[in-house]
Amino acid sequence: MGLITPLYDDLWNEYLVWSALVGLFTFGWLYHHSFFYRSEDGQNPNVDDLKVGVFPAHYDNMKLEITWTVVPFILIVYLTFISWAPLDNIWSAANEEDGFFGDECVVGESSNLIFNQSEGLYEADCYHEIGISGKQWVWSFDCYDLDADICDTGFAQIEGRDSPLISLKAGEAYLAIMTSEDVTHAPWFVSLGIKEDTQPGQVTTQWVLADEVEDFLLLCTEYCGDDHAYMIAGVNVHA
């Protein structure tokens, strides 16, 4: 079932499987022991002979304890490992050899953004730069010199309010250059599963990978004051 993006879904599904296994194992064990080892008469037997003022006899098993230190550790190493490539993907460096999204596109060039099924990662030939700036409590988008087909800004009526709108083209990769004019904000491209804080006096970046045609909301997810909940914008990804 598609949740957010293929990149997110792959991780999510894998994590869910392991969560279910860990859950089944733990709760199965808990369920069994809570019934199988319950006291018959509600009091006895005092298995380890607990006595007031006496530190109880040790009850341990080095092999078992090492097992449930090492096995979870291996699982965690595995989960970290499978999180690695997607991490590289969404925090890919720009303009570098090993980046996933090439150099900045020249005028008229298209990104050809694709989701590489075998690698499970996004790839593009080149990217476009867009600007996002947060200000209490409105987003402003900047398309710099991009063609209106690639990037356009405007306004839309959302929930009865005039809200900023950014139009992007499906199949293009964008690098958002972000800052804030006052306090911390964070644009959440809900349907793309990405967010990153915008900080005053600093520049942060994030990859906006417009892979599917959809109109969705962009929400502010770093609390920024009175009108935080309504600091929204429309994102239009068109064909």
Binding site: Y37, P56, T184, Y223, Y230
Partner: protein, 772 residues
């Protein structure tokens, strides 16, 4: 009973009732529906900014007083305004009613929603229109607001185009509509009522101690004794009462938040108030409820468990406590002035120092500085006590696990809270004398606060959960009639969590724009936390193996804890995986996760502690039937609140927002079922809130008529079960301190290598000073 006593007593009751009556009228109603305050008052700006009295508006067909649910035919008409020869005198209208339903009867009128109609394109050429109004069933007065345009019909907006407004109120049989209650008044009233209930409970407690001496002469010294006591048990009780009180206040705040979120775009709480409520909810629950509850049990149980007559520094202990209520007062000051802190419990800079943040923030910061002082003093006191006052025979590796958990928690707190203190003082100075630590234009760093806060904040959440681990270890082992499985690995796991807590905090800032290298490192370290936590969970489960589990209420809570805490632990594993975190960060998935850990972990753990140690503290057994009822209702409703939040977070519901958006034709956001689940969560939240009154009732009833508790009702081994229930003061005789025996004689009194090294850092354990 003496007549004089009776009079005094009834006077007290009368005074309390009158205070309650004076206060309660402030809470007079529920809000009168969504959008009531948005009475159309703006007028028609499209033609001319100012209403024109030359246009005479009429709304006919309304009765003097309506009959409920009856349908009336209304005629809207106007005269006056521009009239151009040859063109019809054109116009339009908009009619809104605060109640009932307005429906169009022909094609000249269209409905906007059930409370509002306007003309259609075809209805543009008319001077009168007809609609039907079905009166509401509530019988309250209904306001009508009618706007009409009178234009010259040339299709061009100009100064000759006019409009006017008519407001009419139709009486209902029940009179004026009730004013919507101000949530602030509701909150303040509930806080005051809770305070009064607390006072009544305390007075009742005093009354029960000696029913024949219920007068001021006896009350004054009794209160003085509580206010000035340095006994660890009394201070523990004070902490406990404070913690329970603020658990209630934090709960009330949560209920108001859930009322607001019961449906999308509700208007119960204004945004401004909502922001203050979630800020105070977080601050209250962490600092004024969870921490005092832990400190309460630590005060009560740690000296008893290590065989010490009191804490090492009893006066310092009293100071630590008495800083708390005054800090609480400061934190809440803003609410009573309507300008409470609105920064979220994390208080991110630079918002916290901007002019936009409420004035109450300064007080909130000041209050927390006092809490920092309180926690630091507590840390010193407990660490010292555990280092120097353990009973003979009790090495580090023979301390009960609850004591160990308090040791680890206090070490973490002690090493992390100074950073928070520094941050708070910087913010305080920025806000009061205009220093520029967080003034970005003067070169301040917005991320400095985040680093200082989370360097403290992450150990802090472990400080809150680790003592619950200790409680569960005690409760489960005693209930299973077994030694805890892997005592030593439990201690190392606790210590491991303590150490890891300092190198994982960056996961709160994975999307903050801090150095990618740091973000990457914290992703890996965060994953590691699962290892020691896993050891603890598996050790608990293994403890039950081969045991003889006795089902008491505290056993149920301990088993429930394992379920909810494991779920919270599993959901925690999703965040360090960055490609998921960029989506899940700051959503309801996070809210679900940390409530599973903090409520399902800390609160459930301390519920278990209450059922486990209450007989020791009061000398009375709690009612097991009420306890089981409390567990069943609270456990089910609790999961009803937080489980659906996972899904809501994934589909796009952000936290800390006053509302949420359901997908419309134009833009995708939350699916429609999100609203239903939010309502479900709100209902569950109220049930959970009220279910906890079963616990309160149980504690009060058992205090009065519970069975007398024996010294060791559950068959535990540690020293607290050696004392009578309740224990004497001082808890152990200074000249006859207990001595711990060890069932593992071959290693008795021989701490391991780590223990020896650790001991060397501390004061020598026995009296064998170095000889000269």
């Amino acid at each position: 009973m003496e007549k004089k006593t009776l009079i005094t007593r009834s006077m007290v009751v009368l005074i309390l009732i009158s205070i309650a009556m004076v206060v309660s009228p402030a809470v007079n109603s529920l809000p009168n529906g969504i959008g009531y305050e948005q009475v159309k008052s703006g007028g028609c700006n499209c033609h001319n900014g100012v209403a024109d009295t030359g246009v005479v508006v009429a709304l006919d067909g309304l009765p003097e007083q309506y009959n409920v649910s009856e349908t009336y035919e209304l005629t809207i008409s106007f005269t006056g305004g521009p009239s151009t020869d040859g063109a019809a005198n054109l116009g339009g209208f908009n009619l809104w009613a605060s109640g009932g339903e307005i429906t169009p009867v022909d094609a000249t009128v269209q409905s906007r929603d059930s409370s509002e109609v306007t003309h259609t394109e075809a209805g543009n050429d008319y001077r009168s229109w007809t609609v039907e109004w079905t009166a509401p069933s509530h019988g309250r007065n209904v306001d009508f607001v009618l706007h009409v345009n009178s234009v010259n019909g040339d299709g061009v907006q100009g100064p000759e185009d006019k409009w006017n407004r008519l407001s009419i109120t139709v009486a209902g049989s029940l009179g004026a509509a009730l004013d919507p209650a101000d949530p602030f008044t509701v909150l303040a009233t509930l806080i005051i009522i809770s305070g009064i209930l607390l006072v009544i409970t305390i007075l009742y407690g005093f009354y029960r101690t000696n029913p024949d001496a219920f007068d001021w002469e006896h009350l004054a010294p009794w209160i003085t004794e509580w206010l000035t006591s340095t006994d660890h048990k009394k201070i523990g009780t004070l902490y406990f009462v404070q913690g329970m009180f603020f658990l209630g206040i934090g709960g009330i705040l949560a209920m108001m938040i859930r009322l607001q979120l019961a449906g999308p775009e509700m208007g119960f709480i204004s945004q401004d108030q909502y922001n203050q409520f979630f800020t105070l909810h977080g601050t209250t629950m962490i600092f004024l409820a969870a921490m005092p509850l832990i400190a309460g049990f630590a005060n009560w149980i740690v000296p008893l468990q290590i065989g010490a007559p009191d804490l090492a520094m009893p006066r310092l202990n009293a100071l630590s406590f008495w800083l708390q209520p005054f800090a609480a007062l400061l934190i809440f000051t803003g609410v009573f002035s309507g300008e409470g802190a609105d920064t979220g419990w994390t208080g991110y800079a630079p918002y916290i120092v901007t002019a936009g943040a409420h004035t109450g923030v300064t007080m909130w910061v000041a209050g927390q500085i006092m809490l920092v002082a309180s926690s630091t003093l507590t840390g010193i006191n407990f660490l010292t006590t555990m280092a120097v006052m353990r009973a003979e025979g009790m090495g580090w590796m023979q301390m009960p696990l609850f004591t160990w958990s308090i040791l680890v928690a206090n070490l973490m707190l002690f090493l992390s809270i100074p950073a928070f203190g520094v941050g708070l003082i910087q913010v305080y100075l920025d806000r009061t004398i205009s220093t520029a630590f967080y003034d970005i234009s003067a070169g301040g760093d917005p991320l400095l606060w985040s680093h200082l806060f989370w360097y403290f904040g992450h150990p802090e959440v472990y400080v809150v959960i680790v003592p619950a681990f200790g409680v569960i270890s005690e409760v489960l082992a005693t209930s299973a009639r077994r030694s805890i499985f892997g005592y030593r690995s439990m201690v190392y796991a606790l210590a491991g969590i303590g150490i890891l807590s300092f190198i994982v905090y960056g996961h709160h800032m994975l999307t903050s724009g801090m150095s990618p290298t740091l973000r990457f490192v914290t992703m890996m370290t965060t994953m590691l936390v699962a290892v020691p936590t896993g050891i603890k969970i598996f050790n608990w489960l293994k403890t039950m193996h081969g045991g003889s589990l006795v089902y008491r209420t505290h056993t149920l809570w301990a088993l429930g804890f394992i379920v909810t805490f494991t779920l919270g632990g599993i959901s925690g594993m999703f965040f360090p995986s960055i490609a998921m975190d960029t989506h899940l960060h700051e959503t309801y998935f996070v809210v679900a996760h940390f409530h599973y850990v903090l409520v399902g972990g800390t609160v459930f753990g301390f519920f278990a502690a209450i059922y486990y140690w209450y007989p020791k503290m009061t000398g009375r057994m709690l009612d097991e039937k009420l306890g089981t009822l409390h567990f069943l209702t609270a456990f089910v409703t609790y999961n009803g609140i937080f489980w659906p939040m996972h899904r809501l977070g994934v589909v796009g519901m952000p936290r800390r927002t006053h509302t949420y958006f359901i997908t419309t034709e134009d833009f995708t956001n939350l699916p429609e079922w999100a609203a239903d689940w939010n309502l479900f969560i709100s209902v569950s939240a109220f049930l959970f809130f009220f279910s906890n009154f079963i616990l309160v009732a149980n504690m009060l009833l058992s205090l009065v008529r519970g069975d007398k508790a024996p010294a060791d009702p559950w068959g535990g081994w540690s020293f607290e079960w050696m004392t009578s229930s309740p224990p004497p003061t001082p808890s152990f005789d200074w000249h006859n301190l207990p001595v711990l025996k060890d069932a593992n004689e071959h290693i008795a009194n021989e701490p391991g290598r780590v223990g020896k090294w650790f001991s060397r850092l501390m004061v020598p354990e026995d009296h064998e000073e170095v000889s000269h």
